[in-house]
């Protein structure tokens, strides 16, 4: 399966899904006009990849300095797909980066870790994302 790379714009993140090396990263800011359209294809490709895997270790890096409400919804769906893969016998390590002063992103990460216990969740506080 081909890797997925989408260059960042001021309002959408860099998507760097290296399916061949099992490292998936999202970086930047996320408030595209239509988050469902932006993330729809990404989540679809991720699901397609995950469906073919068994007993792999996947490293996921999410370093978003800001995401709007509709992106939050789509991130939730993306992480749910990862959780399903983890529950199906894969290992998923999620590095959740947040600015040390940003309680909102920290709290959202904590909620995700409670909702999706199959994922190994690593909270990474940084000075500036």
């Amino acid at each position: 399966m081909d890797n997925l790379y989408i260059a960042p714009t001021p309002s959408s993140p860099e998507v760097d899904f290296k399916f061949d090396t099992h490292i998936l990263s999202l970086r930047g800011e996320s408030y595209p006009e239509n988050a469902a359209a932006f993330y729809g294809d990404i989540v679809a490709q991720l699901r397609e990849f995950l469906a073919m895997q068994s007993a792999i270790t996947l490293e996921v890096n999410i370093a978003l300095a800001y995401f709007n409400s509709s992106s939050t919804k789509m991130l939730f769906n993306l992480i749910e797909a990862l959780d399903n893969a983890a529950a199906a016998g894969n290992r998923v390590v999620l590095n959740w980066y947040h600015d040390e002063e940003d309680d909102t992103i920290l709290e959202f990460g904590q909620e995700l870790s409670e909702d999706f216990p199959a994922i190994e969740f690593i909270n990474r506080s940084v000075g500036a994302v």
Binding site: N34, A36, D103
Partner: protein, 190 residues
Amino acid sequence: MTSCKIADKYGSFFNLAREHQIIFYYVGYFSQHIVAAMADAVKLQLEVAGVAAPTRRKLFSSFVEMAQNIIHYSADSLTPASQTDGELRHGSVCIRREFDGSFSLLCANPIEPLMAEGLRVKLTALRSMTLEEIKLAYRQTLREDTPDGSKGAGLGFLTVARDAREPLEFDFDANDESGDSPVFYLKAAI
């Protein structure tokens, strides 16, 4: 002198802005490019002004939610209603500094008359909720299917309400001179 005439004619507009401590104002059509450019300008301005990081984050987030609401829901549109990307719709956003140093964020846009009642019900309920209840509603909505007719995720007002210091204020002006559509106003104290 020409400059005096300009001052006479338009000075009141600029003086009013100064009087109200307007730090950002835009009126016109909103596209995603314009929102991204405004967001950049707002972010820079708040950084330069030395506003504390948590306040900057709340202002930025609420600003983007309001601006994108205008792109998605304003009744004054240059693009067909069926278009879901590349939309261009009319409204205004304003950030003002209150005399106590806090911020107010305001937006206004025309809406379809039938939408007013739905907004009133939704925002009246939101106004009566405590912060804990808002957070709970946010968590529930995040896990539900996206409501019909919502282009976001039904989370926009909850996101703004969560960051505001006071209940959100709203109003409808049916007698606005700009046209037949009532104008919806929303204010968040940050």
